[in-house]
Amino acid sequence: MNFNILSLIIFLPALGAILIACTSNSRAKLIKYIAAIFTLIPLILAICVFFSFDRSPTMAGVIQFEEKASWIPLINAYYHVGLDGVSLPLFFLMTLLGFLVVLISWKIDLRPREYFAWLLLLEMSILGVFASLDFLLFFIMWEIEVIPMFFLISIWGAGRKEYSAFKYVLYTLFGSAMMLAGILSVYFTTHSLSMVDITARGIASYIPVVPQALMFFLLLGGFAVKLPVFPFHTWLPDAHTDAPTAVSVVLAGTLLKMGGYGMIRVCVSIFPDAARQFAPILISLAMVNIIYGAAVTLKQTDIKRLIAYSSVSHMGFVLLGIFSLTTVSLTGATLQMFSHGLITGLLFATAGIVMHNTHERDINKMGGLARQIPIITVIFTIAGLGAMGVPSTSGFIAEFMTFLGSFQSDILVGAFPIAKVFTVISILGILLGAGYILWLLQRVFYNAPQDKFNGVHDADKLERVYSAIFIIMIFLVGVYPSILTNVIKTGITPIINLLGG
Amino acid sequence: MSIGLEHYLILSAILFSIGLYGALSKHNAIVILMCIEIMLSAVNIALVAFSRYIVPLQLTGQVFAIFTIAVAAAETAVGLAIIIAIYRSRETIDAGKIDLMKW
């Protein structure tokens, strides 16, 4: 394809950010329309990309929509972007959320120029992470994302916003530092920055400058902070709690997925042996994430914090799926990343509306809202059902495939089938999940209506429209998962071949 | 089915876990003390069982168990005395509130 469609999708939001930066704060309407247009066009282009992506089995492992240009020849760095079955769903998800968060932010009136500029820059950097196939480009995109996040949380946030922003940056940089060390050690081993080439040749064919396990863990460190993996998860609830709603949606929807995506793209693909060797440890951590995350979720009383902790639990499923190292489990993990982006995105968006309209975020002080805001109740309930993994929502099929795959896994410790046993324990996570979601619904929406919430506004037109888009997507993937699994499997098959299948 | 060493050990482990759970989760210092006693009893069972099944001719395990019981009694006495002393000065025996040793 001569037409550089991927670059166009990635850099249109950046162009929009520059345009917005040139306007003035007083023209809020104009700024919002610019932001909407510069995220809508990438979304439409991404839909085209999604449907023209070749799903035939012969295309397994082939990078599509590839673009490659020499960038810094001295160190073999290329501007190299492209999509395969793993990155396409997440790339598409980001363009979708990118557009939706602009709609979600429609009511922002504080310094809109800067806000929307940062938001669009954020979208660009995340799209860049999912599309890059060159380590340097990947790392730069990964780092750019921190800057808008810092400002978005610390200026437009609530509560202890500065503390949370700093905490987020410190954790991310801590992870990035490890990742940079990992990337450098890979570079000095292979003298290449191309993920595709290194994966194709196999890291084992080089003479490593440091032990392979060390490289693996350095890179994993960066991704683990992002996913987040216990015990590096405590930045997440703080950042979510204090971030503005739209940023929470992006944070839960796609930022966390950068961690899971990195694990599949780098840790598992480039270091298949190390991944197999250390899988038991990571599966154990996944189980801790799921059960511990769900248990802590049950004790939360702040609505956004509760949803944030539930993400910790849900990301445990992703980790479990990735390191069970089977076709089905990796497919399930990718599907879970996509599904969680939609479901938790919707949960945060609706929680944001509830908080905005009622001026209340303490669950124990809410109650009886179903009578006053019935439409929000329905939307929130649907999102909650998705998070609980009720069939016909995308949450069910994703979790189910993860379990199915990880139970097929043959990862052992001695004679102990650790993957199977920990999968069964992890299934308890959906039980706890039903517990915290239903309890949340009961405490917020059920029981007798309270007078103090009389006259609270229900969802307005715009809010209904973007919620409907979320809901349609959740059910579409839940009822017809093949639309995604057909794509994902073209990306997973070569990885399984590398693992010696 | 005959009763073997492992049955005693499982009993001991169960008792120990119950005691440990209580010692960690209860607020009342006296309950914590009681839970510690349960843990000690669990250890006694293990000692006697090992002695009986591994070296049946020697009484080392039983002797140790008796020592443990004696020491446990002393420990309880001292522990109760301390609890009373704390109660007199602070009007509470909630373990969560007794944090004089904090940094």
Binding site: F407, G414, G501 | -
Partner: protein
């Protein structure tokens, strides 16, 4: 490729369409004409009923009582998993389709009267349509996965309908409890299903049957798989120890209780075991588990039902008890015996619930202490209720007699101990049902409402169900029902009707049932014996029954509140906020790295080597200052860390040693 059997999909797609019409068109645009929602639902269910009858007739005509319907592939991952969606139509499906559509239709018609004027009329019928869809889907599904999908969806509808009046805290609690308790069972179902898939590579029930029969699937895999599936059935069918949700589920509207929590969804567990019966048949352990749980639940729930004052709760415990019978019948006598009881029970229990709803409509209460004397005011409700009660008590020749008798015969052959329990339960059943009748319909009215008979839209379904409760048992008089399921012999009508009295067993059960009715008559109608005196005499037993063996208190008060929320989860939460976040992250990252390390770099820069020496001292000092925060003074936190450390050491030893 489009053969006529594909039309079977319509059976459950039509109610789905009705749901879509109500929630997407009627609710937003025809808010002031709620009646239409009821008509749409009734029309949809009636169409499904006609299609179901067509299916039944077709299946009866087939030599093996089965229809072939092609699968639709859902998810295919080469080398990993192929998941198909498909439907199975055999004798079991055909019978269940009839049960679900008939009871659903009756309940929908009845609800027009019962829910008249309720603000949530649209919502009610939307949920009811969705429930009917999911239940029909569950009955039709041919794979464990698809069954699980519908299994969860019926659970969801049950949640929504129990919590229909969500402004009442008790209803909101009951809904949540129902969903979570059944999900404990679903955990077993899901795990068992995945376990079976990992060992056989299929979810298809027919293929699993083949493997179980040919012995490919055997031993531990079969046993654990079957027990996992049974765990799901225990949750849904409210068997001990997961029975606690069903009595609370009575918080929902009464027609919902009749349809969901008596006739169909609660019986879905029995259906699930019947659908996967070959798996149980080839594992003695699994079969014994089913029999024991069923037999024990039957008497356990009946004993609680003896002393309840809420009419719906008596019926709820009766349902649990009868579901236990069905499980016992399945385990001892096979699919036909268990399903025959399910079939009969669906009609008479729906009848009883709807009758209780009719009573509630007049008296505005479910408390039997505020009823009495309704016989004169509500003759039609009274007559139909008595028919239902006689049938449930197992009086010849009503339907309950026939199916219960078969269960008793089979359990005497295979499980003598459980047979004895089942016989005691026969007495209890007759007693508590007639206790309800004498308290509700006999004597003088004790409440304050103005009484009236319910409208005909409510009583006609009662009459139809009463006819079914009389007649449905006769289907197996000639052995025809069993033969439909592929076993048993057939007799002539007269031989079937009266030949049964050649054996002593029916006499015994009839005498016990009669004794139960007579005792109820003596205590509650003639008051020869005072109920209070009996209660005092056996006060320990009375307290035990009245407080439902304190199972709820054990689960909610001790396990959930103390052990989980107050114990383990609280410790996790403390650990998260104090140790991970406070202790390690804040102190280490911010305190140590930012203040110390960066401070050290700074002083190194400023003062050179000399400064470095000071820096080391400062580092030590500040490190001490920050690290001491770990000393929280909380004794139990130290204990916890020591404990976790030991566990970690043991795990390391186990993994690497």
């Amino acid at each position: 490729m489009f053969d006529q059997n594909q039309y079977i999909w319509l059976i459950f797609l039509i109610p789905l369409l009705s749901w879509a019409i109500i929630s997407l068109i009627l609710k937003p645009f025809f808010k002031d004409k709620p009646k239409i929602a009821g008509y749409v639902t009734i029309a949809a269910v009636a169409t499904s009923l006609l299609l179901s009858i067509w299916v039944l007739v077709t299946v009866l005509g087939e030599p093996h009582h089965e229809l072939e319907v092609p699968n639709i592939s859902w998810v295919i991952i080469e080398g990993g998993a192929t998941i198909n969606l498909g439907i199975i139509v055999d004798s079991l499906t055909a019978v269940m389709l009839i049960v679900v559509t008939v009871v659903s239709l009756m309940v929908q018609i009845y609800s027009q009267g019962y829910m008249h004027g309720d603000a949530g009329y649209h919502r009610y019928y939307a949920h009811m349509s969705l429930f009917t869809t999911a239940m029909l889907g569950l009955v039709l599904a041919n794979s464990l996965l698809l069954m699980f999908v519908f299994w969860e969806l019926v659970g969801l509808c049950s949640y929504l309908l129990i919590g229909f009046w969500f402004h009442r805290p008790s209803a909101a609690n009951a809904a949540k409890k129902a969903f979570i308790v059944t999900r404990i069972g679903d955990f077993g179902f899901l795990a068992g299903m995945i376990y079976l898939y990992a060992n056989t590579g299929t979810f298809d029930t027919a293929e699993l049957h083949q493997m179980a029969i040919s012995g490919v699937l055997a031993g531990n895999v079969l046993t654990w798989g079957a027990i996992g599936i049974f765990a799901g059935a225990v949750g849904k069918s409210a068997q001990f120890p997961l029975h606690v949700w069903l009595p609370d589920a009575m918080e929902g509207p009464t027609p919902v209780s009749a349809l969901i929590h008596a006739a169909t969804m609660a019986a879905a567990g029995v259906f699930l075991v019947a659908r996967t019966y070959p798996l149980f048949e080839h594992s003695a352990v699994a079969l014994q588990t089913v029999a024991t749980v069923g037999g024990f639940t039957a008497i356990f729930a009946a004993s609680i039902g003896l002393v309840q004052n809420d009419i719906k709760r008596v019926l709820a415990y009766s349902t649990i008890s009868q579901l236990g019978y069905m499980m016992l019948g399945l385990a001892t006598g096979g699919v036909a015996v268990g399903i025959f009881h399910l079939f009969n029970h669906a009609f008479f229990k729906a009848l009883l619930f709807l009758g209780a709803g009719s009573v509630n409509h007049a008296t505005k209460t479910f408390d039997m202490r505020e009823m009495g004397g309704l016989r004169k005011v509500m003759p039609r409700t009274y007559a139909t209720f008595v028919i239902g009660a006689l049938s449930l008590a197992g009086i010849w020749p009503l339907s309950g007699f026939w199916s219960k008798d078969e269960i008793l015969v089979k359990s005497l052959e295979n499980q003598p101990v459980l047979f004895a329990l089942a016989m005691i339960t026969v007495f209890m059943t007759a007693f508590y049902m007639f206790r309800v009748i004498f308290l509700t319909f006999g004597g003088e009215y004790r409440g304050k409402e103005h009484l009236h008979e319910s409208s005909s839209v409510m009583t006609i379904p009662l009459i139809i169900l009463a006819i079914l409760a009389c007649g449905s048992g006769l289907l197996n008089v000639t052995g025809g029902f069993s033969a439909f399921f592929g076993h048993g012999e057939t007799y002539s009508v007269v031989e079937g009707l009266f030949g049964i009295f050649a054996h002593p067993l029916p006499w015994l059960s009839l005498i016990l049932a009669g004794l139960g009715i007579f005792t109820a008559y003596a205590v509650y109608s003639k008051k020869w014996l005072s109920a209070e005196a009996i209660g005092k005499r056996f006060s320990a037993l009375y307290k035990l029954f009245y407080n439902k063996y304190w199972v709820d208190e054990l689960y909610e008060g001790i396990i959930v509140k103390k052990v989980l929320m107050g114990g383990i989860f609280r410790v996790f939460q403390l650990f998260d906020s104090k140790v991970i976040d406070g202790g390690i992250n804040t102190n280490f990252v911010q305190g140590f790295i930012v203040r110390n390390l960066f401070g050290w770099f700074k002083s190194f820069d400023q003062k050179g080597v000399d400064g470095a020496v000071n820096g080391v001292a400062d580092t030590t000092l500040i490190a001490g200052k920050t690290m001491r925060k770990v000393q929280t003074g909380q004794l139990q936190l130290y204990g916890l860390i020591i404990g976790l450390g030991i566990v970690a050491l043991i795990v390391c030893l186990f993994l690497f040693g």
